[in-house]
């Protein structure tokens, strides 16, 4: 049964799905750390190469030859032929090799924002039938088998399953940026040697209480490992929006 209402928006050509408010327990949580998520809108598909091209045409400062290294590393749009020419890329594949700064500014430009981690995870708990499918074997197997596959280049957006909310490609296509990717507290580098309490303002630290949701664990670890100017050809984004 679909509750989702698909909302057409004028900005660019992407459709957004209405995600109804609720609460969920994130990966690391226990009952005491249930997180409330307010209703919001999210793009049903990731931002595509052709959409990103339009953004570049209107925002030259984000073109490959103009972008400041502060905002994107040298991998930024590396597979593009030129500043505004995506060359042999499929116009309908997700835009990747885009840094957090670039993704964030794209969303701003189209009157939206990046989804928060909680929003993204909340929508991504769903499979085709259920809003929270995280305990289903099939749900986890699908994600993990994707993690094991090398990237299929040129795979268009919308080519994976449509979930409970009417949203595609949260699993199975590319990883996606979130607004607050830098809110995860992991001592992520060998130089720190683990969970040094002095690295964070924290009175206590406990390990992940439950590794059942291994797939989500991977996403949290990934987010903690990247920096804002990082780019990768497995990493794209979609935008979200508050409900007015």
């Amino acid at each position: 049964m679909f509750w989702a209402v698909t909302v057409a928006v004028s900005a660019q050509n992407s459709e957004m799905a209405l995600i109804k408010s609720g609460s969920y327990i994130p990966l690391y949580g226990t009952d005491s750390s249930r997180v409330d998520v307010k209703s919001f809108l999210i793009d049903t598909i990731p931002v595509t190469v052709s959409e990103y091209k339009k953004f570049l045409e209107k925002n030259p400062q984000w073109q490959r030859s103009n972008i400041k290294k502060l905002f994107a590393d040298e991998g930024y749009l590396k597979n593009w032929a030129d500043d505004r020419d995506y060359g042999t890329l499929n116009p309908n594949e997700p835009a990747t090799q885009v840094s957090w700064f670039a993704a964030s500014n794209y969303c701003k430009f189209v009157g939206k924002r990046l989804p928060t981690i909680d929003e993204w995870e909340y929508v991504a708990m769903a499979d085709q039938r259920e809003a929270d499918a995280r305990e289903k074997k099939s749900y986890n197997q699908y994600i993990l088998s994707w993690y094991e596959k090398p990237k299929v280049h040129g795979q268009p957006v919308g080519s994976t399953f449509k979930n409970y909310w009417g949203v595609y490609d949260l699993h199975g296509l590319v990883w996606e940026w979130t607004q607050d990717f830098n809110s995860i507290m992991i001592a992520s580098e060998s130089r720190t040697g683990g969970n040094d309490p002095n690295l964070f303002c924290s009175a206590a630290a406990v390990g992940a209480s439950d590794l059942m949701n291994y797939a989500a664990f991977m996403r949290y670890a990934y987010r903690a490992s990247v920096k804002g100017n990082y780019t990768n050809n497995n990493l794209g984004f979609r935008c979200a929006k508050d409900i007015e």
């Binding site: 990966l27 690391y28 949580g29 750390s33 400041k68 290294k69 502060l70 905002f71 957090w100 700064f101 964030s104 924002r113 993690y147 090398p150 990883w175 607004q179 607050d180 990717f181 830098n182 809110s183 995860i184 507290m185 992991i186 001592a187 992520s188 720190t192 683990g194 969970n195 040094d196 002095n198 690295l199 964070f200 303002c201 924290s202 009175a203 206590a204 630290a205 406990v206 390990g207 992940a208 209480s209 664990f217 991977m218 949290y220 670890a221 990934y222 903690a224 490992s225 920096k227 804002g228 990768n232 497995n234």
Partner: protein, 203 residues
């Protein structure tokens, strides 16, 4: 996929126990203004277009800090755990800078809690910590700009409760052109290298 190498890392859930207090203050000081330019190195934080409000209610951009070595840390004033130690670390660094270099350095605290940390609140915090002089600058911006700035500094933070955050303890040093030259991670760590970085770039 590259991410596989990260899977063995343990994920920590952090809690903080900090509490709220509020104070008001009225006194004001001016920020030194210098001749400004608009072209900076690619990696300069002066490229960030964000606007910030100081403890004295003045609107500034980061590029207004050009011409000084900048020591910067992200905190929130209601924090009672790590933040006082970060403040102490900043003060210790400031104390060890030679007299003839002191006016070359700006110490900046950026709030990760802009909602609570109003300019009045920042001013009170500055006075409370005896940092109510020109070398100490307290900034607040929008939530969005603050998140962006943290991304530049590679600082992580998360709101844990309505009044508490967990956050990385990192002091960053920028040269006079706004390029990051050093980061000191952790609390009460040896600040020798940090001090040297400041001295080297103070020129």
């Amino acid at each position: 996929m590259k991410i596989f190498k990260y899977i063995f890392l343990s994920l920590a859930v952090l809690t903080v126990s900090c509490k709220n207090d509020a104070q008001q203050a009225e006194e004001a000081t001016d920020i030194e203004t210098v001749a400004t330019t608009d072209t900076f190195p690619d990696m300069s934080i002066f490229n960030l277009p964000s606007n910030w409000t100081t403890q004295d209610g003045e609107e500034i951009e980061l590029k207004d800090l050009q011409g000084k070595v900048v020591a910067m840390v992200m905190i929130y004033t209601s924090c009672q755990a790590a933040c006082p130690r970060l403040v102490a670390d900043m003060r210790n660094i400031e104390r060890q800078i030679p007299e003839d270099k002191k006016d070359q350095v700006q110490y900046v605290f950026v709030s990760i809690d802009p909602e609570v940390d109003t300019p009045e609140r920042l001013k009170a915090f500055a006075i409370e910590n005896k940092m109510d002089s020109d070398e100490w600058l307290f900034l607040r911006g929008s939530e969005e700009d603050t998140r962006e700035f943290a991304a530049v500094l590679a600082v992580s933070y998360k709101r844990i409760t309505p009044i508490d955050f967990s956050h990385s303890n990192i002091i960053s040093i920028f040269d006079k052109q706004g390029e990051m030259v050093h980061q000191m991670e952790g609390l009460g760590v040896d600040s020798k290298e940090t001090i040297q970085a400041i001295i080297d770039h103070a020129g």
